[in-house]
Symmetry: C2
Subunit: 171 residues, 2 copies
Amino acid sequence: MVPVKKFRELDENLVRQKEAAFADFIQRKGLKTTRQRNTIIATFFRLRGHISVEELLNQVKQVNPRIGYATVYRTLHLLVESALVEERRFGDGLARYEGHSDVEHHDHMICLECGEIFEFFNPRLEALQESLAEENNFQIFRHRLELYGACKDKDACQKRKARGNTAAGAE
Amino acid sequence: MVPVKKFRELDENLVRQKEAAFADFIQRKGLKTTRQRNTIIATFFRLRGHISVEELLNQVKQVNPRIGYATVYRTLHLLVESALVEERRFGDGLARYEGHSDVEHHDHMICLECGEIFEFFNPRLEALQESLAEENNFQIFRHRLELYGACKDKDACQKRKARGNTAAGAE
DNA sequence: CCGAAAATGAAAACAGTTTTCGTAATCCAG
DNA sequence: CTGGATTACGAAAACTGTTTTCATTTTCGG
């Protein structure tokens, strides 16, 4: 088990590296560099977790209130296309975007009480999936595993639970 | 590995059993039996696989063309509430409904070439998930595992592949 | 049968996302 | 540097799948 550290420090160098990689991507595609896109990606890469479009737009608006949904959506699509960001859907109807992770691939545990999303990775799990696919003559391109439930001992979670205040969100 | 037989015969008795179970549910909830609902559930339970609302409505309209989306949606919600049917989302934006399966719980392999959806169940996989959750003090209520890829030897799939005709659908 | 309760169907509302369209910014060629 | 084709922008409209509304019809226990 390799649980992903939740409160890893934000590495400013890593952020700059990603900004540069995106600039590269933009140039390779013959697109233009714009103030708005820069604002959006700079904001996005300095957030952590699984960001919804609305969350991102709110942050972005604090820098430049004139930026609207359309540009945020368009920029996120570019980020996904550039492979710097992954789109995820946990079943509550909103797309979420994930730009940082300590491991290349990981799965998710979603607490239905507090809404927290944990990332994890386990090689045995991956291997087992591969062997099941093999048995069925199936070739896996990618997969998605989500465990929905409750974290048993997280403070935040227990607090909300006590208030009967469950996180609607996920599915 | 317990692969779910794909072309199991449709057991008319099983269908009647489910219709009866739904009738029970309706009565227990103090709701009313209607011609439209009967048409919808009879049609649904005689289809197999992962049915979208549109697919179901198309079938239903062949019996009674006056039935519209609203009633189909409402009936599907009741079916889900009655636990006779499960709602699934594979990331293409449409809900799909599943009314039959040989095993209680199962996971899915989705072929991105031909769009086919296979069901499978593996106890080791389930156990491994449980132990990973345990390690992280997480209690699983339910989970979802989807393997996206290609079936290597299905005729239908290979045929479409040859035509470069991939199934848009899933994610 | 009566009548309260629930269900229906058409259409409007809704949420999240995408597209359109007129204007503005970018940036390469000259 | 600029001119001008190209790309991006922002506001608003359009779109998609789903839910709700509302006037009307149907169900079913008394």
